[in-house]
Amino acid sequence: MLDATLIKPHFPILKRTVHGVSLAYLDNASTTQKPLSVIEAIKSYYERSNANIHRGIHTLSEESTALYEATREKIATFIHANSEEIVYTKNCTESINLVAYSWGQENISQGDEIIISALEHHANLVPWQELAKRNDAVLKVIPLKDDLSLDMEIYRSLLSEKTKIVCVTALSNVLGIAPSLHEIIHQAHEVGAKVLVDAAQSVGHQKTDVKDLDCDFLVFSAHKMLGPTGIGLLYGKKKLLDDMQPFLYGGDMIERVRQYESSYREAPWKFEAGTPNIADGIVFKHAIDFLEGIGMEKIQKHDKELRAYAVELFSAYTQVTVYCPKNASGGIMSFSIAGVHPHDIASIFDSQGIAIRSGAHCAEPLMDRIGIPATARMSMYLYNTKGDIERAEMALQKTLKTFKI
């Protein structure tokens, strides 16, 4: 059992107040808060080791390089990959764009098909729309069934030899649905297609094993798992990364440079042009340490329990619609109130010190599918307590009272 009351004190920001009341942070699907160990590591890095990496012979540069590469090792081990399969980017969106440009440009041609799911948020949709346009390819979408799960029968019928890549989320940021990745990946491989998994919402919340999944690419962000902003990650199978052309060109990714011709380093370094976000890359290690210290199974169980508790409390109000698909597994709960716009819900929640997200959650096509312009969303993490959910319920009552519903 995870005791969130013991975890909360490690997060300084959770001690602050908002509008005179203590903060209950329930917007973790947007970004997560940072433990003291991560915050102190940033300070300590700039105080002790700051230098550019991969180029200096001096002590500080060697230290920085070693720390940066040590975190790459740490990330790789965390998702059961090898360190040469981990590329640092600036965020999850850039990771997807890297694949869409570098792999996509070489491997998608006229008439080829790209499959995505109806659950995808804009980052795992727009790069593929554009790739399809550039290369005269076709974008196909796995629709949702009435119970809001992916229609796997239609998915099977969409797959063919024309399918070159399937791009799917591991956990929907709006509905908390976890598609059957094993099945999706296995079936895609049967027709020779590659699979990219958008794991932004899952890596910090459950165990991730890329070897077991057998996905070809997997992307995620440090800031959604206690780490700093500005660090995205791309996992790619070694062979695929080796065959891909660089995405950005310049310093650090080169092997030899002549005036009119250059050669490039091996993966993953050929994808990392210019001075990277060294400090944040390094301190991400402490975020993973923190998560490992708690245990991913425990975190996943805690998310689920809080979500179930929130669903139970909020479902008791007939005026409230809770979007609670049977197959949802993450700590994410979207809801709406007839007659109250989600923006107004979020404003009233904020007045009670409760941070939630409202809007289309960067998933407009999904919102169209559910038939609403926006939802309010609570998303939980390891430092949230049942008390936070109970306070959210009080804010809900306040909302209903204000709008006389």
């Binding site: 716009h341 989600p342 923006h343 809007g359 289309a360």
Partner: protein, 127 residues
């Protein structure tokens, strides 16, 4: 916070003035707020002199944007196109008379941007 949802704002939200569509508008203009997925459409009819004769709006929106549209369309009735183009964010805040946080400013100002777009289009037509 209770000030944000004043009785006047909630009343305009629940019973918006000038809500609906016009049959033969001089212009019909829609603007979106990509942050929240809100959309407001305004239908405007101008008389010969160039003043607003009829105005109606419809769309999806929060209490703030809907109340702002209700209050704004009341103000625009009879107003000249030139005057609409001169209106500022401050005019809207004075109409609403509630504290608007930076995050909600877009909601409050969405109706004004629709009205300004409509005014610009009317000027183009009437040239």
């Amino acid at each position: 916070m209770d000030e944000l949802y004043s009785e006047i704002i909630l009343d305009h939200y629940r019973h918006p003035h000038n809500s609906g569509a016009l049959k033969n508008p001089t212009v019909r203009v829609t603007e979106y707020n990509p942050l929240c997925g809100d959309a407001i459409t305004m239908d405007v009819v101008v008389e010969k002199k160039g003043n607003v004769k009829e105005i109606k709006f419809f769309g999806e929106g929060c209490a703030i944007s809907q109340a702002a549209a209700s209050l704004l369309t009341d103000t625009l009735l009879g107003m000249s196109i030139k005057k609409i183009q001169q209106m500022s964010a401050n005019d809207i805040l004075q109409l609403l008379h509630i504290p608007i946080s930076p995050g909600r400013m877009k909601c409050a100002l969405l109706p004004l941007s629709v009205a300004k777009k409509a005014a610009a289009q009317i000027r183009m037509i009437k040239k």
